[in-house]
Symmetry: C2
Subunit: 350 residues, 2 copies
């Protein structure tokens, strides 16, 4: 008689529960949702059956029947980088707090791969799709991104840009930024206030939004203090430890340094530079002052003065805004602050 295969191994379905409890599937659904009046006796029967069969709903079936997928997706360059990991942690925390599961994808910084993954994510109908990290901001990028935003919007997902410039009020996307320019300005000002005027800007990455903003802050601070911006002192390349190390080695090999302080575009660049300096027999901050950016692990171990970014809060805010903001294109900018440690020596006389 039983036409439904009741494979003893297979997961119990709502139908099995209904059968065992002697009620209809609709009733089971209602008991589980708790959103509809149900007689206490019935409720008890259903609850018992659920426990006996070790039943859990099928998330896909639920998502299919008009419900949200209860999922938040985040796209980052790599999990294996403290800065992104912290943001991901914030996203995960807030997602969990809101009863969502968290889909994490990595792109390795490749825009094409980002697009590919975004397409994959459209299939998932996540509540939010969170894009993290800087990007080379050209017309092509804005065009493609606007289109992604539209399709995502159409399928009920909200697009969130974290640490990446807003696409403007015409594109349905949440933006959560932190103020790179102000941070770089404050950090450079700190160096200037300690008497450093020959400050090397070292790191990434021309065209990248984050980097451009930091460089802008650096230049503005110099300008406002009447210090000429020597192009020789702007060594642009990439983010990350290897670049910091290699570039600093090259600079030191070329002769005695024409600078007294180094502004690493992030803590890893600074860490690489510190390593190269030490290998050259120079001490930090004795012979050279060094500052970083982001306040991640190396900054602590190297006692690096740096700019602290509320990374986890960025992630949490992204999720909160995506899930609750009525505004279609909210835009918040989080503040940062300089953390003073021991990698800068004052050149002022006591």
């Amino acid at each position: 008689m039983t036409r439904k295969r009741n494979a003893p191994g297979g997961r119990a379905t709502i139908r099995d529960v209904a059968e065992r409890a002697g009620v209809s599937v609709a009733t089971v659904s209602r008991v589980l949702a708790g959103t509809y009046p149900v007689a206490p006796a019935t409720r008890a029967k259903v609850t018992r059956a659920v426990a006996a069969l070790d039943y859990v709903v099928n998330a896909h079936a639920r998502a299919l029947s008009g419900q949200s997928a209860k999922t938040v997706a985040i796209l980052i360059s790599t999990v294996d980088a403290a800065f992104y990991a912290k943001i991901a942690q914030g996203v995960e925390d807030q997602a969990a707090a809101e009863g969502r599961l968290c889909l994490v994808c990595t792109t390795g910084g490749d825009p094409d791969r980002e697009m590919a993954v975004l397409k994959l994510l459209r299939e998932q109908h996540a509540d939010a799709v969170i894009l993290v990290g800087a990007v080379v901001e050209n017309e092509e990028y804005r065009r493609r991104m606007a289109q992604v935003a539209q399709s995502l919007h159409a399928s009920g997902s909200r697009l969130v840009l974290v640490g990446r410039p807003s696409l403007g009020p015409d594109v349905p996307a949440v933006t959560v930024e932190y103020d790179n320019t102000a941070g770089a300005y404050a950090l450079t000002s700190h160096l200037l206030s300690q008497g450093h005027e020959r400050i090397l800007y070292l790191g990434g990455a021309p065209g990248h939004s984050t980097a451009e903003e930091r460089i802008a802050g650096y230049r503005r601070a110099l300008a406002e203090h009447g210090v000429p911006a020597d192009p020789e002192l702007q060594v642009l390349g990439m983010f990350g430890r290897p670049f910091g190390y290699d570039a600093m080695r090259r600079l030191l090999a070329a002769g005695p340094p024409a600078f007294t302080a180094v502004f690493g575009s992030d803590d890893l660049v600074a860490a690489g530079a510190v390593q190269a300096l030490r290998e050259a027999g120079l001490s930090v901050p004795g012979d050279m002052s060094v500052v970083g950016y982001n306040d991640i692990s190396p900054a602590l171990d190297l006692q690096l003065t740096t700019v602290h970014i509320p990374s986890e809060e960025l992630g949490r805010t992204a999720v909160r805004l995506a899930l609750h903001s009525r505004d279609l294109t909210p835009h918040v900018v989080l503040g940062t602050h300089v953390v003073i440690r021991e990698s800068v020596r004052s050149r002022r006389r006591a």
Copy 2:
């Protein structure tokens, strides 16, 4: 006439594509799957319609109709810890390579939360559910885990244990471990070979599988070199930087150290200890040798001798085994190796 709501904003469905291409939905599905012969002309029509409508499949609908969810889930204590982040990165890489999306959940190390999340994950029907990290291994734990393994197995998900002891051949679970005992043995032997006999073991965490194994390796090395294991030199507490720092401060405050080397149960404990040592005016390795474990970021910046763990490979192997192993309970143990840096001074005469 149109009874289906064709909400202009809503995502296009396979039916919309079929209609526009003038074929049946089955044909569209077949073109997309590419698993069945289809006339070139038809294929072209469908492809065009797909492009025109910007169609993507609904992952939930697909998963519901007997397909795999094309998803891999990983449960870790926190993303925001280099060691776990690397494993997660490995999982993500391999998952992406196998066309899977990656669901990341964090537990904060709380076993109850782990159980709750596991239940949530059962709803998702992921191809694999990967549990990472040490655990207090008692009867209760084994019982609950065996049950989880069973339900996961029943719903078609494979359970994978990474860096956590196997549940035995009766429980359907993949195990991917690395050899903590051998690593700790090798690391301790290195210290002994450099003439250190009074070696402080500092860190976590009594009862935790990982910690117990490391302590065992430490003790075995001492025993085999005929060095008595002084209980005073085993200061057990937790993993992480704060414990290393606090414990070392306390030890130093109690009087001149009765040891010449410190074995941190992980790099963070070691980093905390180094900080406390430096604050007390002691230099590493001049006045005190220090080693860590895991080879994560602080180890590099502090030039810490440590044990390298193939973390990404752990993650990749976990996914590979889960997706392809025919064996129901495969068990692999990955090797580790000591990385020599500059935090250990030899006490042998030259």
